[in-house]
Symmetry: C2
Subunit: 450 residues, 2 copies
């Protein structure tokens, strides 16, 4: 019987994070202060983040040791399996080999716990008592709540109201781990109260929820803020994904020709591909592909520029591919990919053509997800389904070109809390949205000149 | 770093099912025809089940080979991990070692796929085109839909209406794998139409859904019926759980002192404990514990007698512990444990004191589930949480008695589709029901005299 799963034991969990900043030919430009437009220093971030994370954010050190206390928690579910997708290959009639790294085995069901555990640990050892964050679809809030529970910190989560109402199971999951969840806009912050005064029926947005969480952290001395993607230290923590994948491919004598990840803020993609960067820079032929929604096509149709990370313009300006911080993406089910910008690190790689990007519409993404569920068994999260679609199209190309390539993608999470999206798909009620040119032009034109 | 997970590779998946009928000192008495009250033969079951499964149902052969085609599908998620629950042990301050076998890694999230794959395979090779079944909470319907999709059979599921309305995600999961789901009572069968004529607002019951599925199978030549627990062949298919567990314990030099499983129809419990039966009969000191809800305490308060498997009295009479086939259990969240009877095999073991049983109320079970989620990360299904509670109480006993016993329990599934139950628990809205004596006496008195 052929083996489908390539398993590592706990002693194979990577002991160090890989920091791509040490190897990128052009490192990302420094973030700028939103007021002065001058490069910010560590002290500017100190009200929001503990110093060890700020140090990681600006570090150029290639390898950073993972604390034993973090490894101990990660070992609850790591290493994660790498699967050979034999059934999917057969259904596609492709000569390509398809592998997928499955991050849905974590307690909260996605890769997000890889960084939440590390972030909470560094907060814990520097005296933080409480962490505030925002969550859209709920994957990040779940992951942070899980980690805070483990280390005994309080956790406050501002959950975009429309998701709070539509995804009660995600909220209950956070509450089961002890998290306190508020529908955003809430009455807990000035930002929230102001929004509710203007419109008592405000259904919230990620940008507004960020404002609430940041205000909460900035106005409480024992509280810090936490972000689940985009930043360098978040991608750093995710590099255990790619390190494990490299080792697993070696175990079966394979080398990746194509690496694929879905891309919103960029952390699951970065986690998979960054550890392969030295190989690529060293001359190994290896393509890296970001898959994004056509409704929010940051890398494929955005502009490379300094822009705000949030809607209100309170965060530092970062150089990235952006659709403009005023951009409001359509309500696709892949809530985790609805971000106007992208990780500066991933953006820089795209700018330097180290990375390709492709965008798909919602219906073709769910076609891919359903095929995957019917062949491999696992029902993917809508976000992760973008990577599935990317892998399927690469496998079809291989079939057309009669090429036996090795395709590896990151299945970043399961879709157990997203079945309403599958119901809409099965009932042919999914809106198949692509971003209109005039809407894009308008939000791009609002990007500040630096 | 200590290892939490004991992992097997795919070549370690058991190649044979273990049939406890070969070793039980007193095998279960034969089922009786509901009309004649005489022992039934294979031909009586032929309208409902394919002959290979009927042969397994009555077989006394100790080992039965697992077909390669079944092993191939099982390898999508098997072998499943055995975990050492270090965090839970620490929280309890127990000298006991707690291990749990985790069956929630299957596509449908529980152990049920172990038998659904085998059952659909034997239906496939004997020409069945469609399988009809019932489902309560939805775990069994999901598992059967997954397996039917894999082997290309149609799948019709009668889902108890109250669950159909309350658990749309379970229904959508079945539909994603191609299953056709009807709220029961439905207009598809005479049984359903009759119930709806009497009461258009009938919210259904498992007994009625069974009647619908059985009628559907019996009245369509290309269609068979399938059951997810209780029967000998179902427990047989689940014995891969215990076989893997034995091997995993050997890998870390452990021997189980106590084996624990939640018990409704008895299949996840049987799957874990039956492969240890020869050791126990051979003199090894090993306790086997069934954990059931106080609202439906079949083994702890039922009567050992011949009784019907369904409410309507259409199925054969089987000798088992029963609360009476007219018994209607309270609406606890562990829907999979709401069955008036029990597997004849498990019942016989309880009767012969090879097995102990203990019953818990709903709130203490969720206390255990929440503690488990907060220490080990995984949110258990309400059914599986009964085994968690059983293991915690054994570990507390070990602490009181200063005993370093090895406790092993079956965590049969995750609770991702049961978070409404956790919300009720967190909001202190769970009804803490135990079966009143007079209700029990009434339903026991209705058991037919044979």
């Amino acid at each position: 019987m052929r083996e489908r799963k390539i398993l590592l034991s706990e002693k194979d969990i990577p002991r160090r994070w890989y920091n791509a900043m040490a190897d990128l030919p052009n490192p990302p430009a420094p973030p700028l202060h939103p007021g002065t437009k001058q490069p910010i220093g560590p002290d500017d971030l100190a009200p929001l983040f503990p110093m060890p994370l700020i140090e990681q954010e600006v570090s150029a050190q290639r390898w950073i040791d993972i604390p034993e206390e973090v490894l101990d928690v990660l070992s609850l579910w790591r290493p994660t399996p790498l699967y050979r997708a034999y059934n999917l290959e057969k259904a596609l009639g492709t000569p390509a080999k398809i592998f997928y790294k499955y991050e849905g085995t974590s307690p909260s069901g996605s890769h997000k716990t890889n960084t939440s555990v590390a972030q909470v640990y560094y907060n814990k050892i520097t005296g933080t008592k409480r962490i505030a964050t925002e969550t859209g679809a709920g994957q990040w809030g779940s992951a942070l709540s899980f980690a805070c529970n483990h280390f005994g910190l309080d956790c406050t989560i501002y959950m975009v109201k429309v998701s709070y109402d539509q995804k009660p199971y995600r909220r209950i999951m956070m509450e089961t781990w002890g998290g306190k969840v508020f529908a955003s806009p809430s009455r807990e912050t000035n930002a929230g109260r102001q929004a509710l005064t203007q419109d008592p029926n405000n259904s919230g947005s990620l940008g507004l929820a960020i404002s609430e969480a940041v205000e909460d952290a900035a106005t409480h001395g024992d509280t810090k803020y936490s972000l689940g993607s985009v930043l360098n230290h978040v991608l750093l923590h995710q590099t255990i994904i790619g390190q494990e994948t490299k080792k697993q491919l070696e175990m079966v004598g394979e080398k990746a020709d194509v690496l694929i990840g879905s891309c919103g803020g960029g952390s699951n993609l970065g986690g998979l591909i960054l550890p392969f960067l030295p190989d690529k820079l060293g001359g190994q032929k290896i393509r890296m592909v970001a898959v994004e929604p056509a409704a929010c096509p940051t890398l494929t149709r955005g502009t490379f520029a300094y822009d705000f990370g949030d809607t209100a313009g309170l965060t530092p300006l970062v150089q990235m591919y952006t659709l403009g911080s005023s951009f409001m993406p359509a309500g696709i089910h892949a809530g985790g990919l609805r971000y106007h910008g992208d990780s500066p690190l991933i953006s820089r790689m795209a700018k330097d053509k180290l990375l390709e990007a492709v965008a798909y519409r919602q219906v073709e993404v769910f076609d891919a997800a359903a095929l995957f569920a019917r062949t491999e068994g696992i029902i993917p999260a809508p976000e992760s389904a973008h990577a599935v679609k990317g892998a399927i199209d690469e496998a079809k190309r291989c079939a057309a070109e009669k090429k036996k390539e090795t395709i590896v993608f990151n299945l970043s999470g399961h879709g157990h809390f997203d079945l309403a999206a599958y119901e809409a798909y099965l009932g042919k009620k999914l809106v198949d949205y692509a971003l209109p040119e005039d809407v894009l032009a308008k939000s791009i034109s609002a990007i500040p000149k630096v």
